[in-house]
Structures are given as C-alpha cells and as structure tokens.
Chain length 386, copies 2
C-alpha cells in the first residue's frame, strides 16, 4: 500500500471522516439562542414563506451543494455501494470548501434505479443551491443528469463527465497557442469510449473542433458500423465524417492531438511519428498512462499531459468543479450550460500568462493562488452576459 | 418586531444562513491532496467495501445527523413549505454542534406524502448516523417515524414529540423530589391533545405515571366517547381509567401536576386551589403560557415551569436532543428507545444536585456546562446495559 493510502486510512479513522458541519453563529447566551433558534428564527422563516426567493438571501442554500452518488462507479473500484462511496464524496466536499469556499454535503443514495435517484434528488433539492453528481455509472448517469437538468431550477453537474472534459479543453487551448494551430483546423483522437471519452469529445466539438475520432476497444467509432453500441450512436453522428475504419494506430495517423482516457500503454511510440507536426498527447489513464511521458517525448511528442501530479501538465478536475460551482452559485444560475463550461476552460487556460506558457506548463497547478476565482469569474460573466 | 427577530434576519442575511461545512483535513500540497482525495481515498473506500461496518470507523457517518422536515408544521407558522423551514433546520443544526459536537445537515423535502417522505429518508440514510425529524405535522409524523424506525438501522427521533416530553419528565422527576411524592401515586393532567400532548402523556405513562388525563378542546379524552378522534384512540386506552367526563376545570380537581401544551390563559387561578397539595404547573404555551407564572403562584402553585427563558424552570428541548443523539451515536445504537429517553430525562434531572434543588430550580439551564455530556452518558449507559 502506498504512503498516501496508509495516511488516508489513518487520518480518516482518527478524525472520523473528513468533514464537519459548523455553526456560523455564536450561541453562548439566552439572547444568542433566541436569535439562532426560536423565537428569532420565526421571522426568517416568515420572510421566506412570504417570498420564496428569499431562501437565497437568508439561508445556507445559497452556498450548499449536495455531492450525490449511488456508489455504482466509484473511482476505479466499480460498484461498491453507497457506504463505501462516502470517503470519495467527503473528499470532494473537502475540496469544494478548500478551493472555492463552497459548503458541500455527501449524499450516498441507497438505490441504483434511475427514476428513484432522480426522485430522491428532486425531493432534497429545496435545501441545496446545486447538485454535483459523482461516481454514477454510465449510461445511467446521462439519463439522471438529463432528467434533473430538465426539472430542477438549480445547477446540476456530473463532474466525472464534465470536469475532466473542461480541463482537457483548457489544455487544448494552451497547447494550440504554443503549436500555433487553430481549434477548427486540428484533428483530435479521443481514445476510450466510456462516459469520460464521450464527454470530452462533446466538449471539444462544442468548443469548435471539427475533425474528431472517438476510438473504443473495438476500433474507431463510426455511424456506419452495424454493431455500434447504443451509447455511441449520438457521438458517431458528430465524429468520423470520413467513416474511417480501423484501430487506434490508424486513427492517430495525421492527428494533431491524442487524448487517452483508456488503458495503460496502449499508445505506441512509433505511432507518434505518424501524427501531424507538433503532436499533443494527453495520456490520462491512471495510475499508468497510455504512454510513458518519457517515451512519448522520445517518440516526438511536442506536449505531454497526464492525470498524474508527478509529471508536468496534470489534467486535474480540481481545477474546474470548485470554481464552476462558485461562479454558478454566485450568479444564481439555474443550470451549468455549455457556454459556462467553455468559459471555465478559457478561465483555467488564462491562469497561465502567455509569456509563461511552455510545453511543460500549459495547465496551471491546482494550488495556483486564486485559480478558482478566475474560473468562477469566467462562469459568472458568462451568466451575466446571457 | 422583537429585537431577536430583527437580529435573526440581519445575521442570516449577512452570513447566508447559520451553518457551513468544513474540511477537517488540511489540503495545502499535492501530498495532502493525495491523502484527502485520490489515490489515498481509494484505500478507505476499499476497506468499507470489504467490511460495511467500517463506514463508522472511517467516515463522517458516525457523527452526522440529517435534520429532516417537509415544512408542514413549522413552529407556530404552520404549513409554510420546505424552503421557509430551512432557517429552523439550520438553527437546529447549529444547536447540535454547539451543545453536543454533532454534525447536522438540514434536509427540507419537497413532498408532504408520507410514503414518499419515508422513501426519501431511507434513500439518503447511508450517509447519516441518525435522523432527526422536525416540524412535520400530526398525524403524518407518527406514521413516518414508525415506518422509519421499523426499517432503518440508525436512530430516528422526532424531536417535536419526544424532546419536550423528555424535558417534562426531567422536570417531573425533580418536582416530585421536592414535593416528596412518588411518580406512581400522582395524578397528572395533560392539556392539549396534539402531537406534543400525546407524546408527553406516553412518556409519563412509560416512566411510571398511572393516573393521567389528557384534555383536548372537546374535554377529557375518554375511550367511551363515541366521537373520539382517531389520533386519541390509543392514548384513551391508557388514560382516564374512571372514564371521567368534563373539561379542564373538572380534570384538574385533585391533580398533582398540570402540563399545558395548549393555548394562552386557559388555566384559571381558582382551579389551582382545587388541585392536590403542592401542585406543579408546567404551562408551556408559547409565548403566552396557559397561566401567568405570577398568577399561578398567587393561586397556590408549588412549582411553575414554562417554555420561556425569562421565568424560572424553562422546559427547553435543547436540554435533550443534542445529548440524546451524542449518546446514541457514540453507542452506535440502532434506535432511540423508551429506556434511552427515560435515561435522558433522569440525566437532565440529575444535573441539578439534590442540595441545589429549589422550587425555582428544578430544570437545569441549557448553558449548564457539561449538560449534554450528562445526558449522553445516561443514554450510552442504557445502551451498554441492554
């Protein structure tokens, strides 16, 4: 077991989890009690009963996010159930507070039925200013997110899909600045046809990528394929316009950007030589990437990013979700739209001044001071301008 | 508007509600991040996946209580809905933390259907170590509590019913010490046939009271009454053994203890003279009690308690619920039983040493240092001894 894992067990046991709920008001006298509770609280409740919108003025709803899971797809551990998912939800809540002063509560649901999950989240929604879906397996996560977005008047965001996609887009923006290429002119290969790969593909397409191949274990996804999987039908219509057939080797020929959310060591060094000039490699399989960064460099990669903190250019969703919710909550946004997510990516990219951009510095470190504020500002401005 | 109400509005607006969710772990480096989140958190999740009971060892579940309402019976404000109920739930959460270091989360549900409420609470239960029901109207609250107690393996407690009842019992214990009477020999009149009155009656009966009359607006509740309300049928079987008929005036004749959870000024001074020797009056209608304490004293009352902090002997449920949950959580109790509630009442009563008991000091002040620890110890010992 690694050091981090041993320490995580020790600290979780010692502290009894990673979060606590504190009072923001002092209660040290009968007068304090009369303000925090009855009879004072009756005035606050009455004000909201008179004008429901005042719930955002007077309560924690304006800063409170539910981090909701059903425990069906927890990290790489799979369907381990609601209890075992709690440490991840708590970790997320701790990051929300640390990076964007958002108050977040772990809610682990005791069901994996799509409609039941939707119904439970709808029921608890009055208390919360936003819903962060987490570690829910595909394709259920798509339907749950869609139904909640349609019915709730607070922002709903499935971080596993959109968080990483936003940081990838931020990396693409900065990589293209260094490579001096336009987003509308590059060819992108996304390897890995799961929820993350599909979300990344959609994010890049909506940001202006026009030539994109999604590659799954069975090869390049194509709308001509009679055996196409249900989950790939929508994305197949938007990608692979030339109906290319073949595997990853074929896909990366002439590509400008490779994005892997797949499996260890599936990208061969020799294939990089077949890519376009100044090839960009984001190899995010964890902990072992699609290609070792040193090997990718030896193969001719111009820029390399991974999911790991011990290599340059870490693609870490911690850059995105705290600031996105900070911005959405501050703007009282009813949704987290495509435009807000693209703005968040631009915000992350802009956190590195152009004169500091290098091939080893296209994605900011998560501890860059003010990074979540930059993201939040970008998101807030997008809401304000719409 | 009173000072407390104005201040409650001002502070709620300034702070955005009364609670916040904090991280108990420092996150200031990549190493910290690896412990609080991935990859470290995977070890914690794996441990719980292997042994579900470890959720109590490693997560916030062991100290986290959901304060759940549907907004149907909020304070004296009635059915004001889930959003307007949030300030009360937040106040409760603030008190939980202040008085017993319990982490509590307000959950305001967007439905008032009994089965839906039960289903939603069952669904979110994995995250929580206990459920505190709050401000749910009768008789729905009875059914919701019963169904949850039957199906959940964590403690469920409807504070509006049981919290006040426990503090009343504590007051009765100390009042009887001063009056030198036995609980099995006193006649008790409970005025007010709502959820609180029924709960107080049941608590006193289970603690050893044998002669009890419950009085509602229509008079003394009697199992012989052909027009008896559905909600009174169970309690009618346990009370009024002589099938007395009449109103409150008739009921209090010869009574040792009057307990009011009813309406202002319904108890006449002259009636106190018809009570037994050393009559005890708990007049808890708020803010105007069933009889003014000064008038009650003039009428011959031996001990007077109210719900107000500006008179002696305040019957305040803040004495009960924090310590009860502290004890139940520490003991990993699966329920909050009658025995635990009676133990809590004895604990509250014992917080005033016998040589400090006076007619104006039978119920401890909520700010008595260590009061919740005393209650928690009593509850924990009861669990340990069963």
């Amino acid at each position: 077991m690694t050091d981090a894992k041993e320490k995580a067990l020790a600290i979780s046991k010692e502290k009894g989890g990673k979060i606590e709920v504190n009072s923001k008001v002092e209660i040290n006298s009968m007068e304090d009690l009369a303000i925090a509770y009855t009879p004072g609280v009756a005035a606050v409740s009455s004000a909201i009963a008179k004008n429901k919108e005042d719930v955002y003025t007077y309560t924690s709803k304006r800063n409170l996010v539910a981090v909701v899971t059903d425990g069906s797809a927890v990290l790489g551990l799979g369907n381990i159930g609601p209890e075992a998912a709690i440490p991840v939800m708590e970790g997320k809540a701790a990051l929300f507070k640390r990076f964007a002063d958002v108050d977040a509560v772990p809610i682990s649901l005791n069901t994996q039925d799509v409609d039941e999950i939707v119904s439970h989240i709808q029921a608890i929604a009055p208390s919360f200013g936003g819903i962060n879906l987490e570690d829910i397996s595909a394709p259920r996560c798509f339907e749950i997110e869609r139904k909640l977005k349609e019915t709730l008047d607070i922002p709903v965001f499935h971080d596993d899909q959109h968080g990483t996609a936003i940081v990838v887009l931020a990396g693409v923006y900065n990589a293209l600045k260094l490579a001096k290429k336009k987003i509308s002119e590059v060819k992108v290969v996304v390897n890995g046809g799961g929820a993350a790969g599909i979300a990344i593909s959609k994010r890049l397409l909506s940001a202006g990528v026009e030539d994109l191949l999604l590659v799954d274990k069975t090869g390049i996804v194509s709308s001509n394929d009679p055996d196409i999987e249900e989950r790939h039908k929508e994305i197949a219509e938007l990608t692979n316009k030339d109906q290319l057939q073949g595997g990853l080797e074929k896909a990366v020929e002439g590509a400008d950007i490779f994005i892997g959310v797949s499996a260890p060591n599936v990208l061969k060094k020799e294939w990089i030589a077949t890519m376009n000039d100044k090839p960009v490699i984001f190899a995010m399989a964890n902990p072992v990437p699609e290609i070792d960064p040193e090997e990718a460099k030896a193969g001719g990669a111009f820029i390399i990013g991974t999911g790991r903190s011990d290599f340059p250019n870490q693609i870490n969703n911690v850059l995105a979700f705290p600031g996105i919710f900070r911005g959405a909550l501050d703007a009282r946004a009813g949704d987290i739209t495509d435009a807000m997510q693209i703005a968040a990516a631009r915000g992350i990219a802009s956190a590195i001044p152009e004169d500091e951009l290098t091939v080893d510095n296209i994605i900011p470190n998560v501890f860059t001071p003010g990074i979540s504020d930059i993201v939040a500002d970008s998101v807030r401005n997008t809401v304000a301008n719409n």
